[in-house]
Each structure stands twice: as C-alpha cells, then as structure tokens.
Amino acid sequence: MAKRLKGKVALVTGSSSGIGAGVAKAFAREGADLVLNYPNKAEEREIWNVQKAIEALGRKALVVKADVSVEAQVKRMVKAALQEFGQIDILVNNAGHADRGAPVQDMSVEMFDRMIGVHLRGTFLCTKYVLPQMFERDYGKIINVSTQFAFGGTPLFTHYNAAKAGIIAMTHTLALEVGERNIGVNCVAPGATWTPMVEQVPPEKPKSVLAKQTKHRFGDVDKDIVPAFVFLASDESRFFVGQTLGPNGGDVFS
C-alpha cells in the first residue's frame, strides 16, 4: 500500500515534544521529509531525539530553532526550510505552551501577551511566510492546532482559549482567501491529551475534564490524536475546507 505523504515536505512547528513530535514522526512514517522546529536551548535534546527517530525511518529532518512569535526568526526558519528542500507542502502550526493560568483580574499582561504571541501570532506569522510558495506551486496543506476548550472555555485559561478560538476563526478566513486553489486549510482541536504540557497546568484541571468526557481518558498522542493530522495532511482531505476535527474522546461534539 502506498505511503500517504510520499515525497512531501512538512514543517511542523513546536515539534520537540508532545503532539508536534508525534505528528513529525507519523509524517515521516508516511514518507515525508521534515523541518523540525523548537523554541529554545532547553528543548535541544528532545528535538535531536525526534530528528534521530525520523532519520532512522530513512527520512530527512532539518532542525531549526525559532521562536514563532518573532517575525525575523520565522522568516529565517522558512528561508532555511526552502533552501534545504525547495518546497514546503505541509505546514503544521503546532507550537504552543501552557502555563498555570490565572483568573483575568490576576493574570499578568505578560502572561496574556505571551500566550497570544506564541499561539495566535505564531500561527499568523508562519502562515504568512509559507503561503507565497504554496500559492506559486498551487499546492499545500495547512493544519492549525486548536483545542476543545476554544468551544466550551475553562476557568483560568482565557488567554489560551481566546488564542485557540482565534486560530479557528483564522482557519475559516484563510480557507476563504485560499478559495479554489489546491491548498487545504483545516484545524485539529484535540481534547485533553497526555503530553508534557499537561504537567504545567494545575493537577485538578485534567481530572475535572476527564470526568465529563465520554471515554474518561487522556488522548494518546500517537494513537488518538496524530492520525487526524495525517488525514488532513494527505490528499484524502481535499474536500475539507476550513474544518476543525475534534479527536477529544467525546467531550465537545463538533
């Protein structure tokens, strides 16, 4: 059976751990070469592990350090990717972080800005600089990462949920701008997923989420979440336009 992403080049932001790392490895298994991105030195060892795993699958992996909320760094990353591979077929705007959250009246403005900067501005910036060559080649898949909490909200995370809801609205709008071109723009909104990010939020949070979820378990990155990305990255999704898939174990039905 043919590999589903054979000959494709994918840029996955925030691919040193969690969902991004899982997506990068799954794409490689399906035949894609990867541009891996990580934000800072602290993630270096992890990104090298992902790179090694991809190379062990016989695929190429270029590693680029860049803070996706900073324009100059995004420009440099996209340039390096195009220099190496000549094309970017798939862009996964996955980079993101979690913090402990705070009620609005106590949330520091820096906390809010940082969240919007990485998640929402980062998605805008990477898209802005990757899109022109997709237009030129009339081919591309852009997959943005939202969350189920963009729909239902959850206390302490106004900044996170607003950023993630913004990503869905951006997905809709970009899909309309892309129009009839052969470029797919869609979104994945996972539910609570077992990743290093979970350790950053208050421990009672995930428990309360899983209690009202149908499957009563965290999503497993590789088994439960990543296949939605492979589907949207492949040509199987070519009539999906501006849609959001929700592998969330039956929490929010969308």
Binding site: G191, F239, N248, F253
Partner: protein
Amino acid sequence: MAGRLKGKKALITGASSGIGAGVAVAFAKEGADVVINFPNKQQQAGAKKVASAVRKAGGKAYLVQADVSKEGPVRRLVKESLKRLGQIDILVNNAGIATGAPVDKMPVAMWDEMISVNLRSVFLVTRFVLPHMYKQGSGKIVNTASQLGYLGSAGMGHYCAAKAGIIAFTRSLSREIGDRDINANCVAPGATYTPILDGIDEDHLKAIKAMIPKGDLGRVDQIVPAFVYLASNEASHMVGQTISPNGGDIML
C-alpha cells in the same frame, strides 16, 4: 503497508450507488469485506456492479436487499450480514433519499417517507447491530449526515430535519456507548455528484456551485476518505463528531 481496514467486516446501507457505493469499494481497497445493502429491485443491477468492483479491489462482497426503514427487513439484514460476514466491525448508515417541497405544500406522506428512510433507518440498523458490537466489545459506526443538517435548505425541511436528527442521534449514542471501544461518528458531506442529484436543474446546480468556496460540488472519491478514516482505528478518539468534506460551504 497493511490496509487500514484489514480483516474488518462492514455493513453498508444504501451501497448500490453514490457515496455508499464509493465507501464499499474504498473499504475493500483497505482490506475489508462488505455487505452491500440495497433497497429494491431497481437498485439490484447497481448493487451487483458495486459487488464486482469490491471483488476486484480484493474484498468479499455480499448483496442483501432490505428496506432499512422497516423493522422486519432490518432484522433480516443484520442477521444475514452476521451469517455472511461472521461479525460486523463497521456499520455505515448511509441509505438515504432526496425529495423536496416547501413546508406548506409538502404532502405528509413525503415527510413521513423521508424521516423513515433517512432517520428511522439509522435507529433501526443501529438498534440491531449494537448488541452484537457490545458483545464483541468493539466497533465503528459511521453515519451519513449532510451539511444541510446545519445549513437548512428551502424546500428540504424534511431532509434537513432528518440529517440534523442523525447528528443528534450520533451524539446521544456516543454518550450511551461511553468508554467502550466503540465509536460512533458522522460524515456530513456537502453537495456531491451522485445520482441523488438526478433531476436537479442546471440553474439550481450553478447556484449551489457559486456558494461553495472550492467552486464545485464534491466527487464521491473526495468524500469517501472521511469514511475510511472514521472506520479505522485512527479515529479511536473521535467520539460523536461530525466531519465535513463540503468544499468549505459551512466551516465547523
């Protein structure tokens, strides 16, 4: 690479043409054996064609005629399917019709027929397949809804109500299934080139196209991958969801 549905047994209702036929062949390509359900004698030739396409793709194909809007035939369909396939891992509730009339002029019989064929059938087939899936401890149910379940459509109040009902049914069913290893989800295609559009006039078709960001209706081969995804173990965390290959008509 192994087929994504290798060794799986699927019952597909309304599989003699259109999306159902495409799903049957796509499932076979991924390694599944299928029961092709069709409603009546007129559809028999179509169903046979689908069966030979399934066999060509390497799957086993069994034909079972049954009007899925009726309890007796559905009981027989499920029994027959279990006999042929040995088990049912995947149920695709796809059978459907399209008619139309504004509400003030819609014959009550037209309403009743639509709700029976498009909505009652989903309940009935699920009703009699589910105990088997519960016993087996695994299964995938994929229901065919429609974007019109969200958008509504003048002259198709009955169709839209049935399709919205399927979405709500799927969500409720998912809550009942709970944490069992059984997933129920929906595909809500946009307007697709299938025989269900036969008889629609050129102007209406043009108006539909103008509303779709992709600029065209979907083709069956653009719709069926969504069914393969939801029928496979890749969708293990998709629960009560509706995914929408619709060319961007409505973004959800």
